[in-house]
């Protein structure tokens, strides 16, 4: 028995060392997908995540739906009215967009299909399991023609961009992640900057020249210089903008226009 114990200990440490070494090698290599194994495992977990997510949404929304049943007819009528109004405005906007493009061409601007994207709705089924990345998982993947880099938005504004695609699901890096960077512009003063994540409720707008003009309550939107995000998508509102006498740049805090803790659906810009 005494001769057996050291042998067992040695074997155990070997197992740990092998796992750690493999994880380290994969992390540092260009094969983090482990030759497709990662994608297969994500696809294997996906049905369970989707089922539990749907059950959760059903369980949470059913009681309130029953309570709101009486208001549904009234709400339905109101929504139909709003829809008709929105459709009329949309028709007018289509006309204005077409006119805008005609005028741009007439003025010699290179034709750019600025509004020629389509929106793909996607459900949020989960969040990244590691606290180090602000990631959501959505139920659209390669089968829905989603690609890495595709922006995700909601009606309130910008959500993030797709960073990993598997067959039936994708991961979206939120703009609140400190590694996320979005070219942005102040809607009023047109000062450019870079939006970076700080915490779930605060974004930082960096590299705005102190010669610029940024005020609290200014709206920040995506910039036309971005090669990933369409221009003009709301990002947030300036809550604090300070500059010291000899600083080159403003220090700006922005409150995101999207409530990331309540995200249930997003639209992918294809």
């Amino acid at each position: 028995m005494t001769a057996y114990t050291p042998f067992r200990k040695k074997r155990t440490y070997t197992l740990s060392a092998v796992i750690i070494l493999l994880a380290l090698l994969i992390s540092l290599s260009a094969y983090r997908d482990i030759f497709g194994v990662r994608s297969i495992l994500i696809s294997a977990i996906y049905p369970f995540q989707f089922a539990v997510s749907s059950l959760w949404k059903g369980a949470v929304s059913t009681p309130s739906s029953i309570l709101n049943l009486r208001n549904l007819a009234k709400e339905n009528a109101e929504l139909k009215g709003k829809l008709n109004l929105a459709l009329s405005k949309l028709a007018l906007q289509d006309e204005l967009t077409a006119e805008n493009e005609r005028l741009r061409q007439a003025l010699g601007f290179k034709y750019s299909n600025r509004y020629g994207f389509s929106l793909l709705p996607a459900q949020v089924i989960g969040k990244g399991a590691s606290p180090w990345y602000s990631i959501i998982e959505i139920n659209r993947g390669a089968t829905s023609k989603v690609q890495v880099g595709v922006p995700a938005i909601v009606k309130e504004g910008l959500v993030g961009k797709v960073i990993e695609v598997s067959n039936f699901s994708s991961k979206v890096l939120l703009i609140t992640d400190p590694d996320s960077g979005v070219a942005a512009v102040d809607q009023r003063s047109r000062d450019f900057g870079l939006i970076e994540g700080h915490s779930p409720e605060v974004l930082l707008m960096k590299y705005v020249s102190s010669a610029g003009d940024i005020k609290e309550e200014d709206k920040i939107v995506t910039s036309s210089i971005s090669s990933i995000f369409p221009a003009g998508i709301p990002i947030g509102t300036v809550v604090r903008a300070t500059k010291k006498e000899h600083d080159l740049f403003y220090q700006i805090e922005v409150k995101p226009s999207v409530n990331f803790s309540r995200l249930e659906e997003v639209f992918l810009v294809l």
């Binding site: 155990t12 380290l24 994969i26 977990i45 369970f48 969040k127 590691s130 779930p200």
Partner: protein, 158 residues
């Protein structure tokens, strides 16, 4: 049968961690069920099983996230440290699990943050990190009474 139970537990923890708990988060912070499970399992099981369990669970955690396989590395180390510590511990297993969760949660978070910041140039918000260290530790401690009996039943084969 035990293998199936373990597989079901791992899947359930991953689903809870990725689907349910994010919806109950407070300022973006929610418990790390995987860390609590790894510590409880290492306290209750023998070293080999604990290493495999922690490696599998943390690997799936990394798969469900992005970037490098840091959780796999850290949690296998944690599992071995806990296995070594329990040999020197004289109290009951539940107290040891709770004590280790309280001590290791902030330590692991700050270590991981340091590795990501210094070696992988990950941008981090240090003020938010300090808040999340405190909040996650409290959350994890609240999870111990819920997870410990389940892990104990699994390890004992009931």
């Amino acid at each position: 049968m035990r293998f199936l139970k373990l597989a079901a537990y791992i899947l359930a923890v991953i689903i809870l961690q990725t689907v349910i708990f994010p919806r109950l988060s407070f300022m973006g912070v929610y418990p790390d069920l995987i860390l609590v499970s790894v510590i409880a399992f290492a306290v209750l099981a023998e070293r080999n099983s604990a290493t495999l369990f922690s490696g599998s669970l943390a690997f799936l955690q990394d798969i469900s996230s992005a970037g490098i396989y840091l959780n796999t590395i850290v949690k296998v180390i944690v599992s071995n440290v806990v296995c070594s510590l329990k040999e020197e511990f004289m109290g009951n297993e539940y107290s040891l699990t709770a004590g280790l969760v309280a001590a290791l949660t902030p330590l692991i978070l700050i270590t991981q943050a340091g590795i990501l910041y210094f070696f992988f140039e990950k941008n981090l918000s240090w003020s938010y990190l300090i808040f999340s260290m405190a909040a996650t530790t409290v959350y994890n401690l609240l999870m111990v009474p819920l997870l410990f009996p389940v892990v104990k039943r699994m390890v004992s084969g009931d």
